[in-house]
Amino acid sequence: MSDRVKFSNIKKRSVKDKIVFGLVCFFSFLSMIPLFVIIWNVISKGYANFNWRLFTQVAPSSMDALIAKMSGEPIPGGILNGITGTILIVGMAVLFTVPLGLFIGIYLSEHPDNKFARTVSYLTDLLQGMPSIVIGIIAYIWVVKPLGSYSALAGSVALTIMMLPMVVRSTEETLKMLPRSLKEAGLALGASYTDVIFKVIVPSGFGGIFTGILLAVSRVMGETAPLMLTALGAAVVNWNILEPTSAIPLLIWDFYNDPNLVDIIWSASLLLLIVIFLLNWIAKIVARKWKI
């Protein structure tokens, strides 16, 4: 009798085990669906206007788009002003971030036990968790207000504040993984500290550092909130860093509610996703190839 109870108990337990396993697989599978649905939506709605015009013409006015739509023609214009703006703003942000982030990362990895370094490390975490809209406010007060105008420069300052903690962290973590003997060998050969850092340590950690930069760029590429408060947007291609400038995400924000222009917005989103996923993919390859 008691044996039979035990047996059914074991059976029950093993069934329960299998059910939980099934549920875990099922819900994990469900969690992947949104990604595919989003990608499918963006492709199916965005591919029609994903053509040469997208890269060579600025965004049309709502009126022009409406007229074209009524006569059954494709929407005139593209997102050139957004593309150039994103290149300008993100490019400048990379120029600001990389040297600074690299140096801070080196400092933190070289002084792991120092009190000052620990404080800096804590504050880096704090900055990393700062909501992007708050970063927008900061850049607005720091740059837009004193200069008296919205500008690409203000946008890139905002993106720099966003990217800096990511680059610092990835640099620090990469360099901390390097064996001490590497540095000691360099110093023992009589190389100066500066030479050891730049010719031994940084090249050895190149993969990790570069991956970190690529991922940081892919993160800020689609940022909209801080740019709304700083770069504002523009209807023309602008290369002057002191003038209001558009960006791909800013165009999406400007026109998402406009039924005449929404088709082009889906194409802009498609372009954004392609670039971001490409950056992620390259980062993965780099990380694998230059693994420490």
């Binding site: 099922f26 900055l127 700062m130 689609g222 909130a225 998402y256």
Partner: protein
């Protein structure tokens, strides 16, 4: 000599983080001083009135604070049934196998999609569904915003939880198996309790993400200044009200918006510090 200059440069670079943080706090406090002086710190926080009309001008953050907490916590609740299985799938059942690296990279790609694309997708794909389900007439609101937020934070919650689950020593689990425990019993009695504080930290970090999320919420929550009391209501979060109204703001209104920014900064800072504190204690163990 060269080395001294270089070391000085490294130190100076590290100093910029200090200066940056101090500058952030200083600027936020200074620019929001007006509104806190006008209404008092708690007077501003607990006032649900937000009226920018010149003659009846009055600003309070309460409806936005409620909107933020409402959407963020509901999103967190919604994301658990998905992020926890993903964490178990990657960190426990298929830890280190090819299928797990596939699932985790697919889920991690969710974190790469920009907020604005989530907003666009929610606006055109999910909103009609919400309307059809009869949740509310315009489709916008707490419900729609929370669903999209939940999807957005799945990767943050799951990847870190999976990492903590995978760090549990095999010997402990083998001990449970040798006593006759099934897999799910081992998970329930060994893995989850062992990884619990790490998992909690992961969810706290995900909550921090949800609290500060701006664009998707701004496009989906309806942007009204009432205090939301149910999932069907429209509302505003602290981030979305700033995104919506910052452009045309000046004077006391600008100060009020920056004050909301300061509150948001403080809330997310505290949340992140708690999570980091838990993880540091885990690392020390």
């Amino acid at each position: 000599m060269k080395d001294k200059i270089f070391k000085g440069l490294l130190f100076a670079a590290a100093l910029t983080i200090l200066v940056l943080t101090a500058g952030v706090v200083y600027v936020l406090v200074k620019q929001s001083l007006d509104v806190f002086q006008e209404y008092g710190f708690f007077g501003f926080i607990f006032n649900a009135e937000w009226d920018p009309r010149p003659d009846t001008e009055e600003y309070g953050a309460w409806s936005f604070i409620v909107g933020t907490l409402f959407t963020a916590f509901f999103a967190l609740l919604l994301c658990i049934p998905f992020s926890l299985p993903v964490a178990l799938f990657n960190g426990e059942y298929f830890n280190g196998r090819k299928i797990s690296s596939f699932v985790s990279s697919v889920v991690d790609l969710l974190a790469g999609i920009p907020s604005i694309v989530y907003g666009l997708w929610g606006f055109y794909t999910l909103r009609p569904i919400v309307i059809q389900l009869g949740i509310n007439a315009p489709g916008f609101g707490i419900f729609l915003a929370s669903i999209v937020l939940a999807i957005m934070i799945i990767p943050y919650a799951s990847s870190l939880s999976a990492e903590f689950l995978s760090m549990i020593p095999n010997t402990l689990k083998e001990g449970a198996y040798s006593l006759g425990a099934t897999r799910v019993e081992t998970i329930w009695h060994v893995s989850l309790p062992m990884a619990s504080s790490g998992i909690v930290a992961a969810y706290i970090l995900a909550l921090g993400r949800a609290l500060g999320e701006t664009m998707a919420v701004t496009m989906l929550i309806g942007n009204t200044t009432n205090v939301p009391t149910s999932l069907r209501d429209t509302g505003n979060t602290m981030a979305s009200v700033i995104a919506n109204q910052f452009g045309e703001a000046d004077g006391l209104k600008l100060s009020a918006l920056i004050g909301i920014g300061l509150l948001l900064f403080l809330i997310t800072a505290v949340i992140n510090l708690i999570a980091k504190f838990i993880m540091k204690r885990l690392a020390a163990r």
